[in-house]
Amino acid sequence: MTSRRKRNLILLAKWACYFLILLLAATLQSLPGFLSLFGVRPLFILPVCLAVAIYEGEYPGALLAVAGGFLWDWTANRVSGLMALGLMVICFAAAVAVELYLRVNTVNFILVNAACCLLVTSMDFLFYYLMPGYPGATQRYLTQVLPMVLYTAALSPLAMMAVRRVAGRFVPEQ
């Protein structure tokens, strides 16, 4: 009984740490001008959600992605639930793909991050820029969206390191 209680406490502490990292990521992502490079800023919530999905599995990862998506929606005053749904699907698929086809290492994580970030930013670009019919879409995509993908992917190992550290620190006894 004691062992089970201890195990639950460890799991609780681990997920509390994940949530704190997610809160930090949401704060940094919405911080005006933070790490802005030629007007391009990186995403932080997506890499954290992806890292948790990869280290904890597709279902727990998808759940945290929902929380991350809602945080994103609320901090940016976007349509509530849109990003939550998008991140949930993407993180679930990424976790399954990594489990089946890829080894968990930094290079693969960066590549998975770049692919997922490209998907998220391209969908956002499609809905909020291309479909309203704003001009200069190609230039905008090349000068704003793609650099953001690269920037986010370049910084994503930070999220991986943080999540790996938490996952390694809170290991329930068998």
């Binding site: 992502q29 919405s30 911080l31 005006p32 001008g33 007007g39 391009v40 800023r41 990186p42 995403l43 901090t75 940016a76 005053n77 976007r78 930013t121 956002d124 909020y128 820029y129 309203p132 704003y134 001009p135 200069g136 905008r140 000068t143 704003q144 953001m148």
Partner: protein
């Protein structure tokens, strides 16, 4: 006897030359001086080390006290910076209120910017609990138009900027009184510019002319400064002109703004007067 005479001679020589130390002493002193200094340093060092060792507890305590003092000073510095920022904001608000006493200004800080936002939209730290409502006008510290509140939550609000396409504001060229619609443009938004559309084809407006709001429509107060004309281009159809506007506010990087929560436009006053005239008794 001979030694006494010698010593007496040395004393007499030293006295006659006005010097208290004799030549041999000086030579000896010159030779020994480096060793004395070295010995003194070693002695002082050892003495200092022993002294430090003996006073280690008090030094540690003193170090802790200094660290604590340093933290307190850092806290005071942060508090000072915060107070200074607030003071600057209140000064700007007083200046704006002096310029336009008919408006009510509320100081707000920009607390969020979404990296995916394309047209400079941001979130401020005031919401409906503070009296902010959807449609309230947002201006910069210097009183230049930034945008208006798109959505007001309880504690925060989302601001749509003048860079957003579709954010029409009725404006006028201050010098020539040419009217037009200020609108965001996807072509210029990344550079922080917007456009004044529907200017007449033969407009006399020039580069550098100031743009202000007209207050028509009742959504924006009149005479709010917007910016200056950077370039005048013919519209595609050739029937009108478009002026590229450089806003006075740095919309993409603004960190502090004022929300005008209460204002009376000339349009609103006219409507009110018309309503009161029609409701007045006919005999009066």
């Amino acid at each position: 006897m001979a030694l006494a005479v010698l010593l007496g001679g040395i004393m007499a020589w030293a006295g006659a030359n006005g010097r208290l130390a004799s030549a041999p002493e000086q030579i000896l002193s010159a030779v020994l001086s480096p060793f004395q200094k070295g010995a003194s340093a070693v002695s002082g060092g050892v003495g200092g080390l022993l002294d430090k060792y003996a006073r280690i507890d008090s030094i540690i305590a003193e170090n802790e006290a200094l660290k604590q003092e340093n933290w307190e000073l850092q806290d005071k510095l942060v508090e000072y910076d915060r107070l200074k920022a607030e003071n600057d904001a209140y000064k700007e608000r007083d200046r704006l209120e002096d310029d336009s006493p008919e408006y009510t200004y509320m100081s707000a800080f920009v607390i969020g910017r979404d990296p995916l936002e394309q047209f400079g939209g941001f979130t401020i730290d005031l919401g409906t609990l503070d009296g902010v409502q959807q449609g309230d006008v947002v201006v910069s510290d210097q009183g230049y138009l930034v945008g208006r509140v798109l959505e007001a939550g309880p504690a925060s609000s989302k601001v749509m900027t003048i860079l957003q396409p579709g954010s029409y504001v009725a404006c006028v060229v201050s010098r020539t009184r040419d009217t037009g619609n200020l609108n965001g443009s996807a072509d210029y938004a990344a550079d922080g510019r917007c456009v004044l559309e529907n200017l007449s084809r033969d407009t006399l407006a020039q580069v550098g002319d100031a743009i202000i709001t007209t207050g028509l429509g009742g959504e924006f107060p009149a005479d709010i400064r917007v910016g200056t004309i950077e370039e005048i281009l013919p519209e595609e159809s050739g029937r009108s002109s478009i002026a590229v506007i450089e806003p006075g506010a740095d919309v993409n990087n603004v960190k502090h703004v004022f929300v005008i929560t209460d204002f009376e436009t000339a349009y609103g006053q006219q409507a009110e007067q018309a309503q009161s005239a029609s409701s007045a008794p006919a005999g009066e």
